[in-house]
């Protein structure tokens, strides 16, 4: 995801994501959502650092031993 797409590209991406999510956005709200989307996109870019593959997500799950029901 590039940090600064054009407004047209941003709007196209937003519309695509809304369609993919199955959401119907009221036309009167779309402009405000586009501004918020651009803002969130900038925020997300802060997380795109060059993590080593060894940096695992925080919620890697773990199992506990269990006993057989028999």
């Amino acid at each position: 995801m590039s940090a600064t797409p054009s407004e047209t590209a941003l709007a196209a991406e937003f519309d695509c994501l809304m369609a993919r999510a199955g959401l119907t956005i009221p036309p009167a709200r779309r402009a405000g959502y586009l501004v918020a989307f651009a803002d969130l996109r900038s925020q997300i870019a802060l997380l795109h650092t060059n993590h080593s593959a060894t940096v695992e997500p925080s919620n890697v799950f773990r199992l506990s031993p269990m006993e057989s029901a028999r």
Partner: protein
């Protein structure tokens, strides 16, 4: 605002000596609600009959020598995302306006087993995220310090009810600051305990991995008492921690001498929204803690923006996963603010979410590393005092006056405690964060701050009185 209600501990003492009954305390609380709530909108539902029945039972139990603990006979209320069997639990939303759970949440049940008296269900920002909103079945709560100002959210009704003196304690939930924010803006104590300390089962989720349940209260001691009832392992909550629950009141009076307290100054000092009064309040608090014997020094943590980004991506992603179907079919039934925030969740990709979780691990490790050499952190709860309803920051922006989300991301216990009033007459506060499951140290420092500021306030009032001035607001 002040409350002339005695503390929870004092009410407990009076109940046990027979100086007062739970029924009398409950009738008093109901009268306060009747007098003030029409202007403040703290309650969605007042459960008068249930409250009086609980109170009669509490009195009968005490008379029979059956003492259920520190909340026995004490009136309290629940944020309306906590399930209550047979009583509507609406999440302040049209989507759940008529929802009546069959079972209590774990926390509700723990208060019932502890003999507490349920006064009712409290307003919240819709689904603990969307507010303040005027396009819902119930109006938003108003700040008792100035009703033209918001309470903050999402535990808005909880803060309003306590700050207006209707009750001493209420439950909240905190996913990005929803306990500590309203506590900060309404001059209250509010603690988000360690992730896993309090069961979330039966509390409507906003974000499974960020949600914390905890109390807002009139004082640090009240909060400690309430947390004592709420805390404990729950095998059926996958996040619940099987760790011992200490006595949260035991160390409250120990002071701060010898404690090391770190200030992550870069979090707030250069923030766009911070006011000089907030900066001065933190510096004044640091100075007073040093005077009381603590070692206070600046510490470095990762950039605040990384905490905020990780927290927001996790919250919005998980929230949209919860609300996807309703958003597809009933988007216009949500408040406009709520829908806007959930829409943003739909734009986050799987890799973005995973990157946020990877950042979360690194951020948690970084905070733990600092807390190896510090007992706790002192920082801002909020960069400002409570804004006016007509000047609320853009609800969909990443900019927020709250400084609370880092400890949702990392899960560390964190508490907001009031430190006086700003020139606009609204409360100022600071935030204390501590090591995982070390709520006692957080509460101990908060109690010391509360004590110092209360004694300073009393001294200032006495000085003004001596000078022939009024006592002020």
């Amino acid at each position: 605002m002040t409350s002339d209600q005695p503390s929870i501990a004092e009410m407990g003492r009076r109940l046990r000596t027979g100086a007062v009954t739970s029924v009398a305390l409950t009738r008093d609380a109901l009268a306060r609600i009747e007098a003030h709530d029409s202007a403040l909108h703290a309650f969605i539902l007042v459960t008068t009959e249930r409250a009086l029945a609980d109170a009669r039972q509490a009195d009968a139990d005490l008379a029979a020598g059956h003492d259920r603990g520190p909340m026995h006979g004490i009136p309290y209320a629940l944020k309306d995302i906590y399930d209550t069997a047979g009583i509507p639990t609406t999440c302040h939303s049209k989507l759940r306006q008529h929802h009546v759970p069959e079972q209590d949440s774990v926390v509700t049940a723990r208060f019932s087993e502890g003999g507490a008296v349920l006064l009712g269900k409290l307003a919240t920002h819709e689904f603990a995220i969307g507010g303040p909103s005027f396009d819902l079945p119930w109006p938003p709560s108003r700040n008792p310090w100035n009703t033209e100002h918001i309470t903050g959210g999402s535990s808005s009704g909880s803060a309003t009810a306590i700050a207006s003196g209707m009750l001493r304690m209420a439950t909240g939930s905190d996913t990005g600051g929803s306990i500590r924010g309203p506590a900060a803006w309404c001059g209250l104590a509010g603690i988000k305990p360690t992730y896993g300390r309090v069961s979330r089962r039966g509390v409507f989720p906003l974000s499974w991995t960020l949600d914390h349940c905890g109390p807002l209260a009139r004082s640090v001691e009240d909060a400690a008492i309430a947390l004592q009832v709420m805390a404990g392992h729950d095998k059926q909550d996958p996040a619940s921690a099987d760790v011992p629950v200490p006595d949260f009141r035991a160390g409250l009076q120990r002071g701060v001498a010898g404690l090391r307290i770190g200030i992550p100054r870069a979090f707030f000092a250069a923030a766009k929204m911070v006011t000089p009064e907030v900066l001065a309040a933190i510096d004044r608090t640091a100075h007073l803690l040093r005077d009381a014997g603590a070692m206070v020094e600046d510490v470095a943590l990762p950039d605040y923006a990384i905490f905020a980004a990780a927290g927001r991506v996790i919250m919005l992603s998980e929230a949209f996963a919860i609300h996807r179907i309703d958003m597809q079919t009933r988007l216009l039934d949500y408040a406009e603010i709520t829908a806007g925030r959930f829409v943003l969740g739909a734009t986050i990709t799987g890799p973005d979410y995973v990157d946020a979780l990877r950042a979360r691990r690194e951020l948690t490790d970084a905070v733990n590393a600092v807390l190896m050499s510090c007992d706790a952190l002192l920082t801002a709860s909020s960069l400002t005092t409570a804004p006016r309803f007509d000047a609320v920051p853009d609800a969909l922006s990443s900019l927020s006056p709250m400084q609370t989300i880092p400890f949702n991301v990392t899960g560390h216990p964190a508490m907001s405690v009031p430190v006086g009033l700003a020139a606009d007459g609204l409360p100022l506060s600071v935030q204390i964060a501590g090591r995982p499951f070390d709520e006692p140290t957080v509460l101990r420092i908060a109690r010391a701050i509360e004590t110092i500021h209360l004694s300073r306030s009393a001294g200032e009032v006495a000085a003004r009185s001596a000078a022939g001035e009024g006592a002020g607001a």
